[in-house]
């Protein structure tokens, strides 16, 4: 897979703008792109959401199927998160086995959903040690214009928040809403010189000197973090970013609860 190519002159321009607290698309340093969420986009899924974050578009679909619990967690269902950076979404994505970049998105999203205990896994147990529900969270990146982690997380959590346990289809009781206990949200920042911007576009990501993602829940916990790309952040900077992450997280959670409109 080739890397994103951004002209050096554009990179320099992005860094110079950032010095003065400005951004290429006219946003403020701590301004998120507009988000729209469309629930139930895919009728064949048990839950789905199409999320648009600026020009980035991500579709997530939930599928629930009967399975067997892991031996070490006989009383819990199974949760699997998979992100596909399909070659349709960017000139630099190629077909083939998952690139580390895709694996990182999957794992970062998966970790936050797990750590936040977003899905009530014990509620997915049917017969301890024998039968449980397996919850597949599949994330399809359709249009990559930067910040795939946040967009993927928004899509996954939005889809989970309105998902249905298809009891009837598999003759395991009645259909019921999937029990969601928490709403974790990821907020990603990039360093551009001494300025740290939220929700980077892909041009900003290629110019970035470090990226950090902070996942928060609605009751004041940071549930996961991930630093990526080449670069460094001071502890004091991270603390400030945590405050910013809660502000964005709370606002986006409210949007999910309200029904997805901007």
């Amino acid at each position: 897979m080739s890397e994103e190519v951004t002209a050096e002159i554009l990179t320099t321009h992005i860094l110079e703008l950032a010095q003065g607290g400005k951004r290429l698309d006219g946003r403020a340093v701590d301004e998120y792109r507009p988000v729209t969420i469309q629930f139930g986009y895919v009728a064949s899924a048990d839950g789905s959401a199409l999320v648009r974050l600026g020009n980035t578009t991500v579709l997530s679909g939930i599928k629930l199927e009967p399975g067997k619990p892991f031996p070490d967690t006989p009383n819990a269902g199974v949760l699997t998160t998979n992100a596909e950076l399909i070659p349709l979404s960017s000139p630099t994505f190629e077909p083939g086995p998952p690139h580390p970049r895709a694996i990182e998105v999957s794992r970062v999203v998966d970790r936050a959903i797990r750590a936040a205990e977003a899905v009530d896994l014990t509620g997915l147990c049917v017969t301890p040690g024998e039968k449980c529900w397996t919850c597949f969270v599949d994330i399809h990146v359709l249009d990559h214009s930067g910040n795939l982690i946040d967009a993927s997380m928004l899509a996954a959590v939005s889809a989970l928040s309105r998902a249905t346990l298809p009891g009837k289809r598999f003759e395991i009781g009645e259909d019921a809403p999937l029990n969601i206990r928490h709403l974790p949200i990821e907020t990603t920042f990039c360093r551009l010189g001494e300025t740290i911007v939220v929700d980077p576009t892909f041009e900003e990501e290629t110019a970035a000197q470090g990226r950090v993602t902070i996942a928060t829940d609605e009751i004041g916990n940071v549930v996961a973090m991930q630093k990526g790309l080449v670069g460094a952040f001071a502890p004091e900077e991270v603390k400030q970013l945590v405050d910013r992450a809660f502000r964005h997280g709370d606002r986006l959670r409210e949007q999910i609860r309200r029904g997805g409109g901007p």
């Binding site: 895919v42 578009t57 679909g61 599928k63 070659p87 599949d138 289809r169």
Partner: protein, 257 residues
């Protein structure tokens, strides 16, 4: 491949001669096409056709990967048809299975038949088709989407490629099968037409039809393709007409029910 729970063969044609969704035998499902639905691709299109939702993107002409596939006298045309794990009733394992690989191949060959590949030696024209929601006829929906995406990318072609599946259900020849008709019908015949020449560049068939039925199916398919062709051309006009100034479309959203 029936859905879990669907155990008996439904009656595909009612006493009034209409199909399970109320269509006449020669009637298409509602078709909506949006040209230029993606931002990063050189060309793209979104197709909503009945309960199918299909996105296509075109990249290129661009450098060939892997290099040894490069041809000195023309562009190569590569296609990847893929279904999302959640696009079908029973979750599909992500990635290309044998069916997807075969469909990718016949779609690539269909487009190679109409693209002026010799204009772009040593390059690759890459077509990506993603089925987001499937309800029979996804290869045809993919072809239609990819055609509009190729035009959106400015790739010179003989013509657009409208495509549709004809089938035999309840003993009758019917246009544009939906899932139940595909699962429980007697035959399925997907085709893609070059409207200018009236020739087919994709043709597959599975099931049982006699000579007369096959002949009527081909005629019905051509009529269907010509209707689809009009919708494709309109989608490109909508995208590129100068007035009124339209904002660049995006992945289309539906009004909440």
């Amino acid at each position: 491949m029936g859905s879990v729970g669907a155990k008996e063969v439904p009656q595909l044609i009612g006493p009034d001669g209409r199909r399970i969704d109320g269509r006449q035998l020669d009637e298409l499902r509602p078709l909506r096409i949006v040209a230029g639905a993606l931002h990063r691709a050189d060309g793209s299109a979104f197709v909503e056709w009945g309960a199918n939702k299909v996105m296509a993107a075109v990249y290129g002409p661009r450098e060939v990967h892997p290099r040894h596939l490069q041809q000195n006298n023309k562009a190569i045309v590569q296609c990847r048809y893929n279904m999302a794990a959640f696009s079908v009733d029973e979750r599909k394992r992500p990635g290309l299975d044998r069916r997807s690989q075969e469909i990718s191949k016949v779609i690539a060959e269909a487009f190679e038949s109409v693209i002026f590949a010799e204009e772009y030696p040593r390059t690759s024209i890459d077509i990506y088709i993603e089925v987001l929601q499937a309800n029979a006829g996804t290869r045809c929906a993919g072809l239609v989407a990819a055609s509009v995406a190729l035009a959106d990318a400015g790739i010179p072609m003989v013509d657009l490629l409208p495509a549709v599946a004809v089938g035999k259900i309840g003993g009758q020849i019917a246009l544009d099968l939906r899932k139940e008709e595909d699962n429980f019908g007697e035959a399925d015949l997907p085709m893609a037409l070059v409207p200018q020449s009236g020739r087919l560049v994709l043709l597959q068939m599975e099931g049982h039809m006699n000579r007369e039925e096959l002949s009527r199916s081909l005629d019905l398919g051509v009529v269907g393709c010509r209707k689809i062709y009009d919708v494709m051309k309109q989608a490109l006009r909508d995208r590129y007409s100068v007035t009124p100034a339209a904002p660049a479309p995006s992945v289309p959203t539906e009004a909440p029910a």
